[in-house]
């Protein structure tokens, strides 16, 4: 996943009530989407972190 192709990132609700969110929903510029686990050895998550490091980009909290 190319960080330049990311439009928005939002956490998904946790798998169990009271747990932490561990997945983010990444929407790309063409509105395709990917669910990306928040683990460092997932290369898409590395792209998300690079995207989030750019001023103005924020990972939204889950609904």
């Amino acid at each position: 996943m190319d960080k330049n192709n990311i439009k928005t990132v939002k956490k998904l609700p946790p798998a169990m009530a009271g747990a932490d969110s561990i997945i983010v929903r990444v929407t790309l510029q063409d509105d395709a989407w990917w669910d990306v686990p928040m683990v460092n050895d997932n290369s898409d998550y590395q792209s998300v972190l690079k995207w989030a490091a750019i001023d103005g980009n924020t990972i939204a909290e889950a609904d």
């Binding site: 996943m1 190319d2 330049n4 192709n5 998904l12 609700p13 798998a15 561990i22 997945i23 929903r25 990444v26 395709a32 989407w33 990917w34 669910d35 990306v36 686990p37 683990v39 050895d41 997932n42 290369s43 898409d44």
Partner: protein
């Protein structure tokens, strides 16, 4: 050193030579009639890897699909394991193609077709075709030690633009690289290239599942990557020295680049000594690819996708278990309509619950379609659809 010279039956001769030796040594020749395959013996006895280091080097597997248009950025698009890094160097279509070099045993190639040209390459532009390795798979290179192995990369290329191209080995863990120029001599003609690289005594590769090592085939490079002196020995990466002299493959919409037969061998070989390509069965190659990508494609109407259980009237949770554990917890997407069996064909929406290397659970949502704790079969509908799990490097 002593030798025995045997005259040929009509001309020439063969010399058998014994180097300096200690003690008494015996070589037993088998009691068989035939010809020793000396020209191939070295790699047969010395190849350290049981399977090819490059997975899907014959471009046979393309789980994501056989054609993607409108490519302007990096990623994996068609042929498994084959990646591009692309920034501001035209628009491309990738295809798994049947144009292959004649008589080499290949049936598929990876085609990169320029559809919007970049006639004035900006300084920061780049375009690379890449193959990435996990560090734990290349410990046999002994990189970063005094015993570091030489590496030879061989591949077939067919390109419209002739001239100088740059192949590069890149150590991701230590940001070190070595480049080598090669020439595409004839336009739109398959050519085999064999490029040998020195071993690197600095910078060990991580013994883990991370992205450690890359073969990079430059296809376009702005001055940020080409304004220096080509780095032909292993060194800390300096961008300006990585792709000096690289032609611009994206200069015209008439341009194509094809690759197939990609192999990487431990050791130094040339065009006459390079071991033959190790062909794997499609099934073996697919299984190795599935460590990095698993695609489930709709092949039949209402084909099963996974089992699930009802959580509420609106949500059920299903799971898919990977036959091959993935490299890392994968990313997930699906396209097309997914439905519950024996219900109105209401498309379900999905959200990943948990992703791991071994299995993946999904919450499927459809208003009023479920009951708590009931068993549910999730299926495809009647139109094209797919589920993709991606754990690429």
């Amino acid at each position: 050193m002593s030798s025995i010279k045997l005259k040929g039956s009509s001309s020439g001769d063969v010399t058998i030579t014994v180097p300096a030796a200690a003690g008494t040594n015996t070589v037993t020749i088998p009691a068989l009639t035939g010809t020793l395959p000396l020209s191939n013996l070295d790699h047969v006895t010395n190849r350290q890897n049981a399977k090819p280091l490059v997975i899907n080097g014959d471009m046979a597997v393309a789980q994501r699909g056989t054609s993607t248009t409108g490519i302007t950025g990096g990623g994996y698009y068609t042929v498994d394991r084959m990646k591009v890094d692309l920034n501001d160097n035209g628009t491309w279509t990738h295809t798994q193609d049947t144009d292959v070099p004649t008589g080499q045993g290949f049936a598929k190639s990876w085609k990169l077709d320029n559809t919007t040209a970049d006639t004035s390459v900006a300084s920061g532009s780049y375009h690379l075709a890449r193959y990435l390795f996990e560090g734990q798979d290349l410990q046999l290179l002994k990189k970063g030690t005094s015993s570091a192995e030489k590496v030879t990369v061989s591949f077939w290329i067919k390109a419209t633009v002739t001239g100088t191209y740059i192949a590069e080995l890149f150590d991701v863990d230590n940001s070190r690289q070595i480049s080598q120029a090669y020439t595409v001599s004839s336009a739109n003609t398959w050519e085999k290239k064999v490029l040998s690289f020195a071993g690197d005594t600095s910078g060990a590769l991580g013994d883990d599942n991370g992205s450690s090592f890359a073969i990079n085939f430059w296809l376009g490079a702005g001055s940020d990557f080409s304004s220096g002196t080509l780095s032909t020995t292993w060194t800390s990466s300096t961008n300006a020295n990585r792709a000096v002299g690289q032609v611009n493959s994206g200069s015209s919409t008439s341009n194509n680049v094809y690759f197939t037969g990609l192999q990487m061998e431990v050791g130094e070989y040339d065009s006459t000594t390079i071991p033959p390509f190790q062909h794997e069965s499609f099934g073996d190659s697919l299984m190795r690819c599935e460590r990095y990508c698993k695609a489930i494609i709709k092949e039949a109407n209402y084909a099963p996708v996974m089992l699930a259980h009802g959580v509420t009237a609106d949500v059920c949770r299903g799971a898919y278990f990977f036959q091959t554990p993935m490299r890392a917890a994968p990313s997930f997407t699906h396209t097309g309509n997914i439905i519950r069996s024996y219900e109105a064909a209401t498309a379900l929406s999905s959200a990943t619950a948990v992703s791991s290397r071994f299995a993946h659970s999904i919450d499927w949502t459809g208003s009023g379609l479920f009951a708590a704790n009931e068993g549910i079969l999730i299926t495809f509908n009647t139109t094209a659809a797919s589920l993709i799990y991606d754990a690429e490097l």
